[in-house]
């Protein structure tokens, strides 16, 4: 009997520990690829309340990171479809596992007779129909509907799906992955009290619904120096002439301030003519006053 030793670490599965160099174990933790976290990524696999929401589709974070959005959508759609077919929709059901698809398509697909006929029919349909520049771009560049060039969830993304669906209904032949999308309800919206919701589309619902309600982004804090940026410190100021906000970076990141050395202070103030620096929109103004914002126990006047 062959002996098989599984050299995987449970702590890596849960994302508590980094995987060893050369290990084939995917990077954890396991995440639900049908949901999105605010700010990117996916929430952990599993639900707080198993009676609420659909069964998650889980993948190791390392695997999820390599999947495209359309591959994730496809996995979620297949899960929901399988649950429906197995009669497992609703509460208290056991999960319906789905097969992992090999999404890699052969690049040098031979042109067999079937493909030639398919292409011929497609050309006839295209000649009879006016198609948008955007869909034309997809066809000309051999970009499938699954690999939609537009941002996932954007207006044009759904336009392409809907336009391709119309062509599909007229007999245009798409590949099996595209057909999966075209036969779903992607691109259809329902109006609810919470707003417009896209069907068959795993999405960051909360943030998309709240997008319209979001308050105007606040201006950065004006006149409050902070550490960081391209130099040692930075501050946002409003230019009184234009009314626009300007970011001022100042301070050498390679030198240390010697505020508690009176001779060094005097020398700095003289060298930079601090007594003349009165324009708040210039770096010199803030550099001459940096001790007030960042110095500890700096006594007396600076100049």
């Amino acid at each position: 009997m062959d002996e098989y030793i599984l050299s995987e670490d449970l702590a890596v599965w849960f994302g508590k520990k980094k995987k060893k160099k050369g290990s084939k174990q995917p990077k954890g933790p396991w995440v639900n690829i049908c949901r999105k976290k605010k700010g990117g990524g996916h929430p952990p696999c599993g639900r707080k309340d198993a009676d609420k929401g659909a069964y998650p589709v889980c993948r190791a974070a390392g695997v999820a990171g390599r999947m495209s959005q359309s591959e994730k959508d496809s996995a979620c759609r297949r899960k929901r479809k399988k649950e429906k077919n197995d009669g497992k929709s609703g509460k208290g059901q056991s999960p319906s596992p789905i097969k992992i698809k090999n999404y890699k398509k052969s690049k040098n697909e031979s042109m067999n007779l079937k493909n030639i006929i398919r292409e011929g029919i497609n050309n006839i349909i295209l000649q009879k129909n006016v198609i948008s520049e955007e869909l034309k771009y997809h066809f000309e560049n051999n970009i499938s509907i699954t690999d939609n060039i537009f941002r996932h969830g954007s207006e044009k993304y759904f336009d392409i799906v809907n336009e391709a669906r119309e062509l599909h209904k007229k007999g245009y032949s798409f590949d099996e992955f595209d057909i999966e999308i075209l036969e779903s309800e992607v691109g259809t919206f329902v109006n609810t009290t919470e707003g417009k919701i896209p069907l068959d589309f795993p999405f960051e619902y909360e943030s998309s619904l709240n997008e319209g309600k979001k308050k105007k982004k606040k201006d950065p804090p004006i006149g409050k120096p902070k550490s960081g940026g391209s130099k040692k410190w930075y501050v946002y100021v409003r230019n009184p002439k234009t009314g626009k906000i300007k970011k001022i970076s100042y301070g050498s990141s390679t030198m240390t301030a010697k505020w508690n050395d009176p001779a060094a202070r005097k020398s700095f103030a003289a060298r930079h003519q601090c007594h003349k620096k009165k324009d708040r929109t210039k770096a010199g103004y803030w550099a001459c006053r940096a001790h007030k914002d960042f110095g500890k126990n700096v006594s007396g006047r600076y100049w």
Partner: protein, 88 residues
């Protein structure tokens, strides 16, 4: 880091995207500032604004990216060098 950047001033940067960068790292995103971009070298990279078709980034091309607007770059086979000027 998906690019290397040289700060020429507070709001002027020279940025180089390496041809080694993974396509998965070049995501759709928005920026806080308006940006004026100038392409400094010939490459086969593309730029795409939200709801628009990609445009080739040819040397000398200048364009504006309004703040809070989704956009992305599409990787080519060589390095891409651009000049970015930020405005508030």
């Amino acid at each position: 880091m998906i690019y290397t950047q040289k700060n020429l001033s507070d709001n002027l940067f020279e940025r180089v995207f390496s041809s080694d960068v993974s396509e998965n790292e070049l995501k759709w995103h928005k920026d806080r500032e308006n940006r004026l971009v100038e392409v400094l070298n010939d490459s086969d990279w593309y730029f795409q604004m939200d709801n628009k078709l990609p445009i080739p980034l040819n040397k000398g091309l200048k364009f504006e990216i309004p703040k809070e607007t989704y956009h992305r770059v599409i990787k080519g086979t060589s390095d891409l060098k651009i000049l970015i000027r930020e405005t508030f």
